[in-house]
């Protein structure tokens, strides 16, 4: 079994999965972190609407969500047409689509707990204290709020990364499961089983299992003990 595992470890699906995971981490830090900060503000209809959209991947079947995104981002889609005509971007069935799928799937796993942490009264009070000590809102966020919600941010990033590596439904619809272009490790398990290559599927499963175990161990480290 060691041979096939090593072989799969250096295969295109493993490389793509790693690339997608790292891209998702960067996207979450750039997009989800400020989004969660905004969502933690006073309640409004805009925030409720965005909150619903953020939660959707948790409560809506991934394959259905993937289909909706495909119709929106496809060449004739509501967003696909302007994306192609203005930016020359053809998103569906590309690696960017795989990243987008993984990002969308992991979004609620980071945004919701982070939003809840940022809404806590004591966190807001600490930010207020920093403001009275001369910090502007951004500096107060970076120097006080962010370190205070650090464990939540860390565990949320890890869970969203785990979700990204295991994503199938949305990725299948948006990425198209094209071999050599958009076939991640999880999709490759599906492909192997479909072709009757059960040993290969098992090797891929073991790789993902080790990744899962690593995620779990890091999560355990991040969770405060005795609280």
């Amino acid at each position: 079994m060691t041979g096939p595992i090593l072989q799969e470890l250096f295969s295109f699906p493993a490389y793509l999965t790693l690339k997608v995971g790292l891209s998702c981490l960067a996207l979450h830090l750039l997009v989800t972190l400020p989004l969660a900060w905004w969502l933690s503000g006073p309640r409004s209809w805009a925030r409720r609407g965005v909150s619903l959209l953020v939660t959707l991947p948790l409560v809506f079947p991934p394959i259905a969500l993937g289909f909706i995104l495909l119709t929106l981002l496809g060449r004739q889609g509501l967003l696909g047409v302007p994306l192609e005509s203005i930016f020359g971007l053809r998103l569906v069935f590309s690696q960017a689509a795989v990243v987008l799928a993984a990002f969308v799937a992991g979004l609620p796993l980071l945004a919701r707990p982070l939003e809840a942490a940022l809404k806590r009264e004591e966190i807001k009070e600490l930010a207020q204290a920093a403001r009275t000590l001369g910090c502007g809102p951004l500096k107060a966020f970076v120097t006080v709020t962010l370190p205070q919600v650090g464990p939540v941010l860390g565990s949320g990033l890890l869970l969203s990364l785990a979700r990204a590596t295991g994503e199938v439904g949305v990725t299948l619809m948006l990425g198209g499961n094209i071999v050599g272009r958009s076939n991640t490790l999880s999709l490759e398990i599906y492909n192997s089983v479909a072709h009757g290559e059960f040993d290969r599927a098992m090797a891929l499963c073991l790789i993902l299992a080790v990744c899962g175990l690593l995620f779990y161990l890091i999560l355990e480290k991040l969770t405060p003990s005795g609280s």
Binding site: A129, A130, R131, T132, G134, C135, G136, T143
Partner: protein, 249 residues
């Protein structure tokens, strides 16, 4: 209104700790009205029952909450003026604040909490103020510790030190001793009473505890049902002394 503020600024050259507030703020059916001027150094106690609007008033002065109408003037500039659309954020007001709970930053040591304003808040330490504050509040032994290892009294001492080292023109204190036992209160009252004289920082101190009022107040601003008015401290203090002697307290 704004013209009047500018005229006053031109007429007088207010010293540090000067504060003039003429404002209203409503929350539902509650309405706070304040119209007062702080010109003297020392400790001014804001007294009144719970829910009277004392904390609301401090938050308005510090810039943590925005008045509906009126103006707030500091020694060098206008902090808020509804007519001119001025509303300086807390970090631009040069007002330090000690809250009911210490609000120490648990990811920093005591020393780094104390140095927070100078490191991150763009408020450089004045020469000698570190030594003065650390010795006045007896913080030397605590500098290397983390906030979660401190007792309630120690944490509040650090919070007071942190606010003082922010080098504000005025120190706001919102019932800083309310969560402490009697022994810790007495100890901290001694520290607080020395601040204006030793460090030259005027204090606006909120409490509804008469013992704190008696120990600290040089003048008292009463807040009752959203209305502020000055009270004769001496008469009040004599009254309390008499009651204390008579065993009523």
């Amino acid at each position: 209104m704004s013209g009047q503020v500018n005229k006053n600024l031109e007429e007088s050259a207010p010293g540090p700790g000067f504060l003039e507030a003429h404002l209203t703020k409503s929350y539902g059916s509650f309405r706070l009205t304040a119209d007062f001027k702080l010109v003297e150094p020392g400790i001014t106690v804001i007294s009144g029952p719970s829910g009277a609007g004392k904390t609301t008033l401090l938050n308005l002065l510090a810039g943590l909450s925005r008045p509906d109408w009126g103006y707030i003037r500091g020694p060098e500039k206008v902090y808020f003026d509804s007519n001119q659309g001025i509303c300086a954020p807390p970090e631009k007001r040069n007002i330090s604040y000690v809250f009911q709970r210490s609000r120490l930053f648990s990811h920093f040591s005591v020393k780094n909490n104390l140095l927070f304003a100078s490191r991150f808040g763009n408020r450089p330490l004045r020469p000698g103020s570190w030594e003065k504050v650390v010795s006045l509040l007896g913080l030397t032994a605590l500098l290397g510790r983390r906030p979660h290892t401190l007792s309630g009294g120690e944490a509040q001492r650090v919070a007071i030190g942190r606010a003082l080292l922010a080098e504000g023109d005025l120190l706001l204190m919102d019932e800083p001793l309310s969560s402490l036992d009697r022994e810790r209160k007495t100890e901290l009252l001694g520290y607080i009473a020395k601040i204006p004289e030793r460090l030259g920082v005027p204090i606006l101190y909120v409490t509804h505890a008469e013992e704190e009022l008696l120990a600290l107040a040089q003048r008292v601003l009463e807040v009752f049902q959203g209305q502020c008015r000055w009270r004769e401290t001496d008469a009040r203090a004599e009254n309390f002394s008499a009651r204390a002697k008579g065993g009523d307290l």
